[in-house]
Symmetry: C2
Subunit: 245 residues, 2 copies
């Protein structure tokens, strides 16, 4: 575990603050399921691993806890939160709401030519991830696609929100890699979204994005069955604590 973290640490920029670098390293590790749901994270141990003090580690924890990726229990410890089916469904709801609005707006106001070109280019590169299957690369390009679309209509706050809730969803994707991620289908959905935007058909764009964002609903119940230990027993996250008493 520590070796993987160390590697990610080296990749971060020296110019950023220790807090930001730690946040990024831990966030990535949690999303990629390298830090297992339920696992305890030790402030002290991580501080020693990276040769920094506890304080910036603690501050990174605080930020991660606000994103719902870890849970800080005072005087007890900090833990990677288990995936909760409820949390995933809620994150999906928010993401669909925001991204459908983005697609609709992009179609009705139109996208600048260079942005459209970049989106087409991203789709092309995604196609090249189908055979041979390159999931890591596709995930990157997928994120780039959605980011480019949101920023393309000048909605940075929308992208920030999407990025935040996406973390919950991406953990599920990493669970299901590679078997149940139909790259080819997802790429064509991207193409359909951009087609509708280019035709300036707002309703078609919204509908295409809706379909795209509904994809995860297919695999979720199956994953809960196959990886029960990764999931919080079904209930709302807010009441998760009481249940363990």
């Amino acid at each position: 575990m520590n070796s993987t973290l160390q590697a990610l640490w080296q990749d971060t920029r020296d110019s950023d603050s220790v807090r930001q670098r730690l946040h990024e390293v831990l966030r990535q590790s949690i999303i990629r399921m390298e830090l297992a749901p339920g696992q305890a994270l030790s402030e002290k141990e991580l501080a020693e691993t990276f040769s920094v003090s506890r304080q910036p580690v603690r501050e990174a924890f605080i930020r991660l806890s606000e994103a719902g990726l870890v849970e800080v229990r005072p005087q007890r410890g900090t833990f990677v939160v288990k995936i909760s089916q409820q949390a995933v469904l809620e994150a999906r709801f928010v993401r669909e709401a925001v991204e459908v609005a983005v697609a609709r707006e992009a179609a009705s106001r139109g996208l600048d030519r260079p942005v459209l070109a970049e989106l087409r280019e991203l789709i092309e590169r995604q196609r090249r991830c189908i055979e041979p299957a390159d999931h890591d690369r596709f995930f990157q390009l997928d994120e780039g696609f959605h980011r480019t679309l949101s920023l393309g209509i000048g909605q940075q706050a929308a992208w920030k929100v999407t990025e935040e809730v996406k973390a919950q969803l991406d953990r599920v994707r990493y669970l299901s890699v590679p078997e149940s991620t139909p790259i080819d289908k997802l790429v064509e959905q991207h193409a359909a979204i951009i087609d509708a935007i280019e035709w300036r058909d707002a309703e078609a764009a919204a509908e295409a994005m809706h379909i795209h964002q509904s994809e995860i609903l297919q695999s979720l119940p199956d994953l809960v069955r196959r990886f029960p230990e990764m999931f919080q027993p079904t209930q709302t996250p807010a009441f998760a604590e009481e249940s363990q008493a």
Copy 2:
């Protein structure tokens, strides 16, 4: 200034951590424009004001900076961010996207009877704020209305996002109180939303929420003209720093 902060500090719960209490106090003060946009906040001074150490103050600053309410400039200071027209429009976009989805969902799946009753009750109490005009009370009830609706369909994450972006919008409301806040109009919009939900008419509910969330667009340009010193010069927030050089 300090006296107002002290008063809010007394209201916070002793059981919460110092960091959370400070965050809440500062957040409220910023939203209510008691801490002026552009004003410098001193870690040390605030620590002394509340008789706590600098560390929890610093952690509260970090959280506020993630919500876009303050800007932490290393080695320089921490400042209340000026309202940016761009940031307000982006926050509005996200809020409309999420809340329209909430309204649509509430209408299509239906609300439990007690939730509907609570919403109707909130609307009634809002009506009582019209004459004599009680803006503070109305703001509270308004927030309660939107929270109850989101939580009523079990979308806590949606409410969390709304709450976050709402901070940017509420600062504008406090600017325009009391003259340009048409309480009566807003209350009737709330009623229209709930009517549509009760009729289980998803499209009507979505449309009613859309109209409601578009209200702020009426007053914004006028406010920018009347309170230019409260606003960032028009441009995207991301490039705001460079402009000051």
